[in-house]
Symmetry: C2
Subunit: 342 residues, 2 copies
Amino acid sequence: MEHVRAVEWAPSGQAVRIIDQRRLPGAFIERDLTTVDEVVEAIQTLAVRGAPAIGVAGALGLVAALLPYGGEPLPEFLVRARPIAARIRSARPTAVNLPVAVDRMVAMLDRAAAQGLDTPAVLEALHREATAILDEDRAMCRRIGEWGAPLLHDGARLVTHCNAGALATSGMGTALAPVYVAAECGRHVEVFAGETRPLLQGARLTAWELSRAGVPVTVVTDGTVASLMRAGRVDLCIVGADRIAANGDAANKIGTYAVAVAARHHGIPFYVAAPTSTIDPHAATGADIPIEERARAEVSGGGQTVPDAAAVFNPAFDVTPAELISGIITDTGLYRPPYRFA
Amino acid sequence: MEHVRAVEWAPSGQAVRIIDQRRLPGAFIERDLTTVDEVVEAIQTLAVRGAPAIGVAGALGLVAALLPYGGEPLPEFLVRARPIAARIRSARPTAVNLPVAVDRMVAMLDRAAAQGLDTPAVLEALHREATAILDEDRAMCRRIGEWGAPLLHDGARLVTHCNAGALATSGMGTALAPVYVAAECGRHVEVFAGETRPLLQGARLTAWELSRAGVPVTVVTDGTVASLMRAGRVDLCIVGADRIAANGDAANKIGTYAVAVAARHHGIPFYVAAPTSTIDPHAATGADIPIEERARAEVSGGGQTVPDAAAVFNPAFDVTPAELISGIITDTGLYRPPYRFA
């Protein structure tokens, strides 16, 4: 029951190996990134996506992009390294993980330089730091999986939304981590993946990584989930989160809230799984989380499905209020309501 | 505030004029059908769709297909007419309206022949009967509109799902009829159209006919509707129905039930609008209504969005239980719970 690896070192240790998610599920193509242009392009075009995965790709990518310059004297190397780091840091604007990871790499660069190391030794320190970021992300996923797996009894039937799986991290994912851990323990778990309009991450990505790992998965349109619940075919829901407010309100892909409402109506537990780094103590409630509105073409594209005269409302995320969340599964524990994060 | 006309006589009175719904919303093309092949093909390929519209198209189409044979002696004419009627009657298997309309036309043919009329007089009787079917369908729609319009105050914001509008009937539709009548009365009504995956009738058809009639309409993904309700942007929901059980349980396009559950959670009224002919007294509850399961490709099509190894569950309809339905708007009145149709 091995999950796919969305971001890792290539066997040489000198390139970032990613799964090109633009090509899924039609083609499974791994790409090795070695230049800053390749790293930035992969992040910007969503070849690698998911906040944790992007952070790891940025850290590993910075090292890969700097490796050719190991022969330079340290002052020249430092002058070269900073703008490369800055370019990677700003490849995508929203998720906090990418700047956090790059800033941590630059801090290590500064520390190593201050210690009077030569360029090869500085590069070695950067490589170790990037590997630490990778390992920590994987460990974070596994801890979420271990905290969440007890919720999945043998035969459990789970609903998820969007993709908060291995493809969104460098490890076994967040919302799907409990599924992988339960499967490792020999429990049979089935997943219903809401296709997740408009960009279909559930159909394209969640269904792909679960079926590749041998977990039975069935794709349904988002409007079918409530009917499955009414038919008694769902035991629980686990979704990811992009940001969690101090009171437990959780922002996630648009459509998540509809799943939470349907779960409540049917008395089905609804869990959010995310690393504690997703909790934003500066947001008191979900009302403090800004919701990105995205392009009309995401909904109206694909053969002119919406007439020009009609408007389109296409928010990227919604907020599920804490009172609909049965528990928040994190790397530091399973929190139950009332939620008071600070 | 004129709604489109999905099925009507061409100005000559010798052809059925339909809007070719296969081309919407990209192109607005009207087609005049004059042969049995054209009529059957239009029904089978969904150029004309919606149970009431198909029934009307069948009746008018039968007359159009028979008009060239007005010079034949009656015995030859009758031998020619019956297989043509049979072909149209079986063009689509599911909706009851098509066989009901064609059977009514054949009964008129029999009556007229028994009265000793000549062929031109029989054709005239058939033309009158088809026009009666058309007029009755239009009147049915308008009565639904008049019963439902008082639910829509000035400024009302309505959610609907799929297309139960003018494009599904020969008149102003069923679920959308109250919108057209309220607009005629000068009230401002806004509509949120759920796009209705997998076939997108809400985005393609409901948005087209409403914007063409000057009614402001906004398309959202099906998973966005609950968020709109939470944001206080929805006053009521009106949807159509394919079959209504004696206890008020209503089968309609998949995703309808999810809208009903979200409406209940937010305390928003949820109405079903349908002609009384939709009520099936032989179905005691929704459990007696069979649900068609449709092809995987409807969900997985469009650029291989679902990996081959994943399953797809694609029911065409769901059943909304009577306890979630605030009222059933029909051509004979607005029924409130408890529903006891017999």
